[in-house]
């Protein structure tokens, strides 16, 4: 990561940290903070998943194994041993890092069917961890665990300010990590593994090590963020932690947004969490599982490459439509909740994103355009030239 992008992420982090101070001045209600916290939480989880599964193509169904382990570990360290909450979250992250390394050690060494076996294995791991938690009275013992809010330094503000700020920190760290990895050698290696692992290895990529590193980072982020989410949970059970909702959400978010880019999971998380939240708000919480499952299946069939690529080509148009949709709702005075207006505007933009780009060709400045490739740096054409081994060294 260059110094410039690092400072950009730092600035975004600081700006987000200050949002609660400016909340009353900006005039939005407290529940927006809570909504944004959850969005940040899901951005973190989806990004964590994408760092391994999106970049390298090894799909994990075991995100809940990390989230659940992180939650239980934080609960045990923080509530039972009275450890500092932030330390407990970090320890939880370390434990899930080790878990990731153990699973990776088994699956990544295989010579054939690595991908499929990895996926099914992660699926089973979550299941077995739930069984262990059920068995062990130290962890859960089938009784569940009651959580108490932790103590925290005063500068984090009220409890709602705290969770917002924690979520923002987690999301900035996770997205920053995803950005840094994508623009590093590790990221290029992971992309090559996704395209053709054997060739990547034959060209000098230490594929096993790269996958282990990516999985470890992914596991740390998932476990630490899971532990952080104990701020929002008052009662833990194995059913509500080691379930399919977490993997469904992160897979859907990353896939819908686009798995090849660090922004994909962010876009997907914003879309899907808003959808889920509005569904719950409209009383469809029970059906959300069916709807989200269907959205995942449709995404794979209709836009398997995700929305990011399309959004990048038409971002001018998408932004314009979004602003117009928001303004129109303001002028017409429909949907008084900010969240609903935001969501409606997203829904209005969606058709323009999904429509084939050539249909939008006549829109002039707003028309889809491809990003131009980086030009040749130093055009020294030596067509038909020789490869001078010594000269280049």
């Amino acid at each position: 990561m260059t110094a410039r992008s690092a400072s950009a992420f730092l600035l975004v982090g600081i700006a987000l940290f200050l949002v609660p101070n400016l909340r009353e001045w900006m005039g939005f209600p407290v529940y927006i903070l809570v909504f944004l916290y959850s969005t940040f939480y899901w951005i973190t989880q989806a990004t964590s998943w994408n760092i391994l599964s999106g970049y390298s193509g090894y799909f994990s169904f075991g995100q809940s194994a990390f989230v659940g382990t992180g939650l239980y570990a934080t609960a045990i360290f923080s509530a039972q041993y009275r450890l500092n909450f932030f330390l407990a979250v970090l320890l939880a992250g370390l434990i899930t890092t080790l878990l990731a390394l153990a699973v990776g050690f088994v699956a990544f060494r295989l010579r054939s069917l690595r991908g499929e076996i990895f996926t099914l294995l992660t699926f089973v791991v979550a299941f077995v961890l739930a069984a262990i938690a059920q068995l062990s009275s130290f962890v859960d013992g089938g009784q569940g665990r009651v959580l108490t809010p932790p103590r925290y330094p005063a500068f984090f503000g009220s409890y709602n300010d705290l969770i917002f700020r924690m979520g923002a920190i987690a999301a900035v760290i996770a997205v920053g990590a995803a950005y840094a990895i994508q623009h590093s050698k590790l990221g290029r290696g992971l992309f090559a593994i996704r395209d053709d692992e054997d060739v990547a290895e034959a060209l000098g990529t230490p594929t096993f090590r790269y996958k282990m590193i990516a999985f470890a980072i992914s596991g740390f982020l998932a476990g630490a963020a899971g532990g952080m989410n104990s701020l929002q949970v008052s009662y833990l059970t194995t059913d509500t932690t080691f379930n399919f909702i977490v993997p469904l959400f992160v897979i859907l978010m990353s896939t819908l947004g686009g798995r090849n880019h660090w922004l994909g999971p962010v876009i997907g998380a914003v879309l899907i969490y808003s959808l889920q939240e509005r569904l719950a708000g409209a009383g469809f919480a029970d059906s959300s599982q069916i709807i989200l499952g269907a959205v995942l299946a449709l995404t794979i069939l209709v836009v398997p490459e995700g929305l990011y690529v399309r959004l990048r080509a038409i971002w001018r148009l998408a932004l314009a439509v979004f602003v117009i949709a928001l303004a129109a709702q303001q002028v017409l005075g429909v949907f008084d909740s900010i969240l609903t207006r935001f969501f409606v505007a997203l829904v209005v933009v969606l058709p323009f994103v999904v429509v084939p780009p050539r249909r939008l060709a006549g829109l002039g400045w707003f028309a889809p355009r491809a990003v131009p490739p980086r030009p040749r740096p130093n055009p020294a054409p030596r067509a038909n030239g020789r490869l001078d081994r010594e000269a280049a060294r």
């Binding site: 050698k185 090559a192 395209d195 060209l203 000098g204 990529t205 740096p377 020789r386 081994r389």
Partner: protein, 256 residues
Amino acid sequence: MSGTGSGGAARPDPSPMLLDCRDIHMDFSGLRALGGVDFSAAEGEIVALVGPNGSGKSTLVNVMSGAMRPTSGRIRFGGVDITGRKPHAISRLGIARTYQIPRPFGTMTVLGNVAFAASFSADALPQREAEQRAWECLDFTKLAGVAHQLPGAINLQQRKFLELARALAARPRLLMLDEVLTGLNPAEIEDSLDLIRRIHDSGVTLIIVEHLMRVITQLASRLVVLDRGKLLAQGDPGDVMGREDVITAYLGREYA
């Protein structure tokens, strides 16, 4: 063709061999693909590896590049024992290969593919220098015009050249070409032969797996014939191809 390649076959002393395989066995769950093959290549040689389908050529290439671990036997490269090392470690010692069916990274541009190889080679070039070298390799293989295309958008010959450019970007000492000419038309074959010669002239030792006899006699300084996992014959291409047993085993089945 430069004269560096001609001396290798005649040299009696095996020690200056760049690559040296001894008694390679390879079994696939009961099926014997290689049964005790000795194979070597000296610095600057062009060794042609031929044999009918299923004779074990591709298996031998896979074993030498580390993609498969031999059941038994030793492989030395530049004096170092590389048996059982991982492919990425072997590639960093200076062995590169191409694939019979080109296998470019589908989501990277042509330039990206080549730059990737440069940055993951032993030189570990940073991105900018890797792209610089990639441009040189693309000039060399006449692919600079399609540098920003995705591999799916270029034709078969260009994809085969891309395989070569990508292998060259790592600046290998030894390059194994697995049927680079298969599926090309006569004009494209001439182009490719020219390119292969230029690669050899730049100082790369070559092992070529090939079916076209015309090509072998034009290029190779030494010919090695495999049949059913065993070494059948080796030596000067003209001599070996005149041998009775080679004709029945290989040419006989192909052309009779």
